[in-house]
């Protein structure tokens, strides 16, 4: 079959039986849709491939990763306090940022009007770790233990300088709203591997009042809304409207749904409207969701050793640690794209104190997730990503003192790491200049990053497209090169 058929708005030719199963819940509903399956050219072929539910019937490349867990560090974590070691900054601490380094590149209005832009060396100590001798700061003690699994990209760069456009760019490939998010693209392209759970799940650490998040970040943009991410929340109702109303038992609900189905079946017999079948399946799947979501979110049967691995927060629902553990459970069940958000990395001032807290909240659980996936044999085909929407300036925003400074937004370079699913383990890629301002080697643009991500999932980023307003859109817009060096 011609793989470029995935490019149209109508994935009919790529439609598979699996797709039907997933979308319409045939498996458990037990309802025949035979009258829909008219003898049809294309369909027979489609049915021959039962493994995918998205518009991509056959991967464009052998897929190294089957699913993604994206630990999004919202706000823009400082690379200079974590992975990008710059001793020269400490040596030249307090000097004005040389114009030869800045090269007229724009700054935000938050620090752009400062009379002086004092270089600020990191207050935290760095050491080399692992076989690759990766420099990691003392803020990430747990991460240092898994560096041999990490593929660290120190040369990420973006175009946006403010949070909203930057995070929107990172999550949708465009600064302008209205485009589908990464997870929505994958949902559309690859479908689901679990008919009882959404293919795209979003987990947010609540209570972090900082740079806000917006539903567009996991939205479907111009793709049909079925592809949008479903947020799992902590608390008794992980998915909105999931729980039966007070006083309604599962048994009572089941009885009601059986009667509802009878009514729908009468209607179908009468009107021959195939959409009634859709309606019936919709309710069956909703019922199954009501069971499968509490099952996956209930961590009470996890052994104590697992809680110890993820850290003390893992028992507190909603924390980053608890979300990491939940992400692993979702990955085990075949959820395609699991997007975590942890806010609070926007340290314009009081950076030393702020970033300490942030690292404490995320370090252990991020490392634990890698360890846990690995011990279950899941790391092989699960791609884990850690990173934010941009980096931070090498100069202090506001006053630089001996024990305090802030850093402004910096799109010119930042660090992201990946692990598992087809990336080179224990590998460092890209380099910034000695003051940590510009990328000097192997730059990776946001589009390149997206192209690489898709490639790991077996997708040619130029071929996963959707026609909207007369144009074939893709996650990587009109550019993007796969960073081949990162591929294992």
């Amino acid at each position: 079959m011609n793989t470029n058929l995935c490019t149209g708005p109508l994935p009919a030719a790529g439609l598979t039986r699996r797709h039907f199963l997933n979308r319409f819940g045939l498996g458990l509903g037990g309802i025949a849709l035979s009258h829909l399956l008219n003898p049809a050219r294309g369909l027979a072929e489609a049915l021959a491939n039962p493994h995918h539910g998205g518009v991509i019937a056959h991967p464009h490349f052998p897929a190294k990763a089957k699913r993604v867990i994206y630990l999004f560090m919202a706000g823009g974590p400082s690379q200079l306090e974590t992975f990008d070691y710059k001793p020269m900054l400490n040596q030249r601490n307090g000097e004005d940022l040389p114009t030869s380094v800045r090269m007229g590149q724009r700054l935000t209005g938050m620090s752009g009007n400062q009379a002086i832009l004092p270089l600020a060396g990191s207050l935290f100590k760095f050491k080399q770790h692992g076989k690759a001798g990766l420099w990691v700061s003392e803020l990430l003690p747990h991460t240092t233990k898994i560096v041999d699994e990490l593929c660290v990209v120190r040369s990420m760069f973006t175009e946006a300088i403010n949070h909203d456009p930057a995070i929107t760019f990172m999550q949708t490939g465009s600064e302008i709203s209205g485009r589908p998010s990464i997870g929505a693209w994958l949902n559309y392209g690859l479908g689901s591997d679990n008919e009882n759970l959404p293919a795209f799940v979003v987990l947010i650490t609540p209570g972090k009042v900082d740079q806000p998040l917006y539903s567009r970040l996991w939205g479907s943009g111009f793709l049909p809304s079925e592809y949008q991410g479903v947020q799992f929340r902590s608390g008794k109702e992980p998915v909105l409207y999931l729980g039966n109303p007070a006083g309604i038992s599962t048994a009572g609900r089941r009885l009601m749904l059986d009667r509802l189905r009878e009514l729908h079946e009468f209607q179908r017999a009468e009107s021959a409207d195939p959409e009634i079948d859709t309606r019936i399946s919709q309710y069956e799947m909703a019922f199954r969701l009501q069971a499968s979501v509490p099952e996956v979110t209930d961590v009470s049967k996890e052994p104590q050793s697992i809680f110890e691995l993820y850290g003390p927060d893992a028992k507190k629902p909603g924390t980053f640690a608890a979300n990491c553990l939940l992400a692993r459970r979702l990955a085990e069940r075949g959820v395609k794209f699991i997007q975590l958000y942890h806010q609070g990395w926007d340290q314009h001032g009081n950076l030393p104190k702020g970033i300490k807290t942030q690292c404490r909240e995320t370090d252990q659980a991020s490392a634990a997730l890698i360890t846990d996936l690995k011990q279950r044999g899941l790391l092989e085909d699960t791609l884990v990503i850690w990173g934010g929407e941009f980096g931070r300036t090498n100069y202090s925003q506001g006053k630089l003192t001996s024990d305090d400074y802030g850093r402004d937004h910096h799109p010119r370079c930042f660090t992201t790491w990946m692990a598992g699913g087809g990336v080179k383990p224990g590998f460092v890629y890209g380099e910034t200049d000695e003051l940590g301002y510009n990328v000097v080697k192997d730059p990776v643009h946001v589009h390149d990053f997206h192209a690489t991500l898709l490639r790991l999932l077996g997708i040619d980023h130029e071929q996963l497209t959707f026609k909207h307003q007369g144009r074939r859109f893709r996650l990587t817009d009109v550019s993007g090169n796969v960073a081949e060096a990162l591929l294992a």
Partner: protein, 1067 residues
């Protein structure tokens, strides 16, 4: 295998129609493909060839100059026909000669290097498509313009046989087409179906049982027509039509972007409701929204309508580049006008020439020049709640008259004072002892102790922040600043816009900065819209401003003189409390400076006010040399800073400079004029009394105006702001300057039209404009049939879908314009047709032949919109609050959603009426829209959306089953049916069933529902506590007099009906 229809059935996949889509794909595009296989059939360029060329070839051989390969354009005949190989007499296309047409061999060659489209494009042509192109060349390769750009002619309806069921010309067009396809129309739908269909389509609400009964009983011939009239006259009609308009207008209750602060546009939404209910003609509806402010003597509604152009998202994210976002806003206005009025994807030409349609990048920026001309800022204020300018004051009732009266009184008083001044003669003698002007505060900067420096009166010591230091000054010592530090004069200079005041100070700049803050009393620069007053040096030129919100609500004067660097200059600023630019004077070393009034429109106060919701009220301080996120006075020095709580006369300004500049220079004798003005202000009791009265009036006006809410609207700048092509769409990559203009291939811009938004609006609504009417009739058609005649509402261009019945579309468009763009008449025309009244059920054969009902051999059938589904539940339960308009409501929503997104905002849901208002009033936060609406396919309203998808997902089932809004509605409905029929289960079921579906239940349905009821009754009887829990859901308390288990079981029954397909689908 490569089989591809010529045109894709839909640019968006609808989930619930996936299965159908397969069938559709296979059958191939029924109408177009069938035409193509008839060998004798003439190929239609517009319908068969252009879509093909556009889709596969135009990306490299289309209108975009920069993307063009091989210097070949296939969208224009002359370029396609141009000889490319003189020897072989070959061109890309040689009419009637496929053998000499390079296109023909390029598409069929097996040589990969030569074949088009190239493999790398991921595009290909099917054998049918290749054959079609060959045939087109053979038949003469005729080019005709894209159908949507051809002026609208009114076609005559086809003649039909006398016994045809046609009731109006719409039917003739559709039936003729059905005849060609060998299809018969479906019989008329039942009356129950008809009234339900009509009621949802026109009012967005289901009919009441009384309405159904009355219609069923009405046997008169014009019963249906009267029903239409009644629906159209219902106020709910305007609400429903407005609700449809809100997605296009990207209407929301918040700004969008990350902080997503609330701002109330409900007055505009209410105008839309009014406009529809008053049946404002569509051309006026368009014109008012685009340019109502430019109409002669515009009414307040006409100005209010232009808020349409300000509904785009706006940001206040700290550190954002103002111009970057302003450029975004302008681009959004263009794209939105393009999509909503013209059905064009103008936004595609923002960064490069349009790849498919004849819209150049220059056209985009010519269009943007129309929208680039208001006095706005790219950022709204973080620290204040000021309405971004330009704004319209939203007067209640008689407030406008009262305000006008106040303003007139002030003007009269000002004129009287001017007259008095002219009439006053010079005093006979020079005075020997004129009192020196005394400041209310003076800072000489002679000493620093404990990070502060005293004022000379010992009351308000000024605080030093981040270490400004003392240096040798103009007199004694002065304060030297770094650009990052500053001095806070706590408690000083707390002036509002009606208070006269003056300042004097010595300044010594070290360099020319583009912008340097000398002093200000404000919270910040763009982060607070510069609210307050400020003295700046801009490239050495002093300027002084009083600002409510920069730039549109402010006065600012700027001197033409540049101050010297490394030298002391004395500056004095005087202000008379008039809120006029000419009430501000600047003096350099005692001499009045010639100034330019940069802004002269200040109509609200310059202080932070608690009642406006501004931040940090009471802690804004007069500050020297620096400001939060602004450019400070780098290496500059300030000395002898004085504050006066009155307006100095010119001679006093001279005195202040002389006195503070050193001893012995005070005895400057005044000129006659200077002396006269001094006497007038200090000794003429008449004048002084009149001044006091004036000040009182101004204060009264200030208080009055401050309480009037505002809304963002359009208001043209007096001088046009230059507009440039922005390369790659980037705000800082200016290309050539452009004049306002339109894509001329659509329709040339009339020479007599003004080159502003009014001209643009007239161009859009001109009879000759090929798009505006087509787009609107298509939209109205969609509101009835669920699909447009052109499926791609958002794109009538060459990449859009082709009309399924172009003659009908044009007839409707022409008729619409002929009617004076009468929207209600258009609705009536459509719903009166026999086609509309058909039953929507289809046999398997018809379903297979035309799964999406493009041929209209049956009536409309589509799932209700998110709003309609919720409103339906509110109506059938009797909960609906019918009040029209007003601020948005906050109905049920799961707790904590806003908090989770990190905005720190809390959703405080309404307690009473707000829970039950129609869904178009539901509060819309762009970054976290109402979840139940999103689940039912509503867009986020961040950008203009022309069309919603219709999906079917399990999450939707969960909303209908479990959302308290629906659970409560089911229970209230259960109470309603239980009360009348406590002993008659069947009657209860019947009533509930009719309310939900509009029809009587069939026997077997009744039987199932009885069974359901009994099952649930057993459950609840066994567990009465569960029944009680269930019934307690929702704010509305339940009737405790009713038997609990019965009520609970009836509620489940009602809930079941609410989950039936028939509840959410219009048939």
């Amino acid at each position: 295998m490569d089989f591809r229809p010529f045109s894709r059935p839909s640019s968006k996949l609808r989930f619930s129609r996936l299965a159908l889509a397969v069938v559709f794909f296979v059958v191939g595009l029924v109408s177009f493909a069938l035409n193509a296989v008839e060998p004798a059939e003439k190929v239609n360029f517009s319908f068969q060839i252009r879509p093909l060329l556009a889709d596969r070839c135009f990306k490299c051989h289309g209108p975009d100059d920069k993307a063009r390969k091989g210097k070949l354009r296939l969208d224009l005949a002359e370029s396609a026909y141009a000889i490319r190989d003189a020897e072989k007499r070959e061109a890309a296309v040689v009419p009637s000669h496929p053998e000499r047409s390079q296109l023909c061999w390029r598409i069929s060659t097996t040589n990969e290097d030569d074949r088009m489209p190239p493999a790398a494009s991921n595009l290909s042509l099917s054998s049918e498509e290749k054959e079609l192109l060959q045939r087109w060349v053979k038949q003469g390769a005729e080019y005709t313009p894209h159908w949507a750009y051809i002026p609208i002619q009114k076609p005559s309806p086809p003649k039909l046989a006398d016994d045809s069921p046609a009731q109006n010309p719409i039917d003739a067009f559709v039936l003729a087409k059905l005849q060609r396809e060998n299809l018969k129309p479906s019989p008329e739908a039942t009356r129950e179906t008809l009234i339900r269909r009509l009621s949802f389509d026109l009012r967005g609400l289901p009919p009441t049982l009384e309405e159904i009964d009355a219609f069923l009983a009405d046997k008169s011939r014009d019963a249906y027509e009267r029903l239409i009239e009644k629906e159209l006259a219902s106020p709910a009609y305007g609400e429903q039509q407005a609700s449809l308009w809100l997605d296009l207008a990207r209407f929301a209750d918040t700004y969008g972007y990350q902080s997503d602060v609330d701002r109330d546009f409900s007055p505009w939404r209410d105008w839309v409701i009014r406009a529809f209910n008053q049946n404002l003609p569509y051309d006026q509806f368009v014109l008012w929204q685009l340019a109502g402010d430019l109409l002669p003597a515009p009414t307040r509604d006409q100005i209010l309508a232009t808020a349409f152009n300000r509904l785009h998202r706006q940001t206040n994210e700290g550190g954002s580049v103002e111009e970057e976002f302003r450029a975004e806003y302008v681009a959004d206005r263009v794209a939105t006008a393009g999509t909503s009025f013209l059905g064009l994807t103008l936004g595609c030409a923002k960064c490069h020439d349009h790849k498919y349609d004849p819209i150049t990048q220059k056209d985009f920026y010519r269009m943007s020049a129309f929208f680039n001309n208001i006095d706005e800022c790219g950022l709204y204020s973080h620290f204040t709640r000021a309405t971004p300018t330009p704004t319209l004051l939203l007067y209640a009732e008689d407030q406008e008259a009262r305000h006008e009266k106040l303003k007139a009184e002030i003007a009269a008083k000002e004129a009287a004072l001017a007259l008095l001044a002219r009439q006053t003669e010079s005093p006979a003698n020079a005075r020997s002892s004129i009192p020196r002007p005394e400041p209310s505060a003076r800072y000489s900067f002679e000493e620093i102790s404990k990070e502060s420096t005293p004022d000379n009166f010992g009351s308000n010591a000024a605080q030093l922040v981040d270490g400004p230091s003392l240096v040798s000054g103009k007199a004694g010592r002065a304060m030297l600043f770094s650009g990052d530090n500053y001095v806070v004069c706590k408690g000083a200079g707390a002036f509002n816009r009606t208070m006269p005041f003056s300042f004097g100070l010595w300044v010594k700049p070290a360099e020319y900065q583009p912008r340097a803050v000398i002093f200000h009393r404000s919270r910040s620069w763009t982060d607070s819209g510069s609210r307050g007053y400020e003295l700046l040096l801009e490239d050495g030129r002093p300027s002084f401003s009083l600002i409510h919100f920069w730039p549109g609500n402010a006065i600012k004067v700027q001197a033409k003189t540049v101050l010297p660097t490394n030298e002391w200059s004395h500056l004095a600023i005087t202000y008379d409390g008039s809120s006029h630019a000419n009430g501000l004077q600047l003096y350099l070393n005692g001499e009045q400076l010639e100034v330019e009034a940069v802004r002269d429109r200040l109509y609200k106060d310059i202080l932070h006010r608690a009642q406006w919701g501004d931040a940090e009220v009471g802690s804004i301080e007069l500050t020297l040399a620096g400001r939060f996120r602004d450019s400070g006075f780098k290496n500059g020095a300030i000395d002898e800073f004085e504050i006066f709580d009155h307006c100095l006369t010119p001679w006093e300004a001279k005195l202040v400079a002389a006195r503070t500049g050193g001893a012995g220079k005070e005895a400057v004798p005044p000129s006659d004029k200077e002396l006269r003005e001094w006497v007038l202000r200090h000794e003429n009791t008449n004048y002084m009394a009149a001044c006091a009265e004036l000040r009182k009036l101004r204060e009264e006006e200030n208080t009055f105006a401050n309480d009037i809410p505002e809304i963002m609207v359009m208001n043209e700048l007096p001088t046009r702001r230059p507009t440039f092509v922005l390369k790659r769409g980037a705000y800082d990559a200016r290309g050539e300057p452009v004049e306002p203009g339109v894509p001329e291939t659509i329709l040339p811009f009339g020479k007599d039209l003004p080159k502003n938004r009014l001209g643009l609006a007239k161009w859009m609504t001109a009879r000759q404009n090929p798009l505006t009417a087509r787009v609107e009739v298509n939209r109205v058609w969609r509101s009835h049939f669920g699909h447009g005649l052109v499926e791609s509402d958002e794109d009538f261009g060459t990449q859009g879908r082709l009309p399924t019945n172009p003659e009908l579309l044009d007839w409707l468009a022409a008729t619409f314009m002929d009617s004076g763009w009468d929207i209600k008449a258009l609705h009536k025309l459509i719903v009166s047709s026999a086609i509309y009244k058909q039953s929507s059920s289809a046999g398997p054969e018809l379903l297979a032949k035309d799964p999406e009902n493009r041929l209209l051999a049956r009536g409309p059938r589509h799932r209700l919109r998110a709003e309609e589904i919720r409103d339906n539940a509110l109506v059938v339960s009797g909960l609906l609050a019918t009040r029209i308009g007003g601020p948005s409501a906050k109905p049920y929503q799961p707790e904590g959603l806003w908090e989770e997104s990190g905005t720190g905002k809390h959703y405080e849901r309404d307690k009473v009426e707000g829970l039950y208002r129609r869904s178009l009033y539901t509060f819309w936060r762009r970054t976290a829209p109402p979840p139940s609406m999103l689940i039912f396919d509503a867009p986020t309203r961040e950008v203009c959306t022309a069309r919603r998808d219709t999906t079917a997902t399990p999450l939707q089932s969960l909303v209908l089953l479990n959302d308290p809004q629906f659970v409560e509605a089911a229970r209230v409905l259960a109470e309603r049916v239980l009360k009348g029929n406590a002993d008659d289960l069947d009657a209860r079921i019947r009533t509930a069933f009719r309310l939900m579906t509009g029809r009587e239940p069939k026997d077997r349905e009744l039987e199932v529902l009885r069974g359901l009821y009994e099952e649930q009754l057993n459950l609840f009887s066994a567990e009465p506590a569960a029944a009680e829990d269930y019934l307690k859901i929702g704010e509305r308390t339940y009737d405790k007099a009713l038997p609990l288990p019965a009520l609970a079981a009836t509620t489940v029954l009602a809930s079941t009906l609410m989950n039936m397909d028939e509840f959410v689908v219009e048939r």
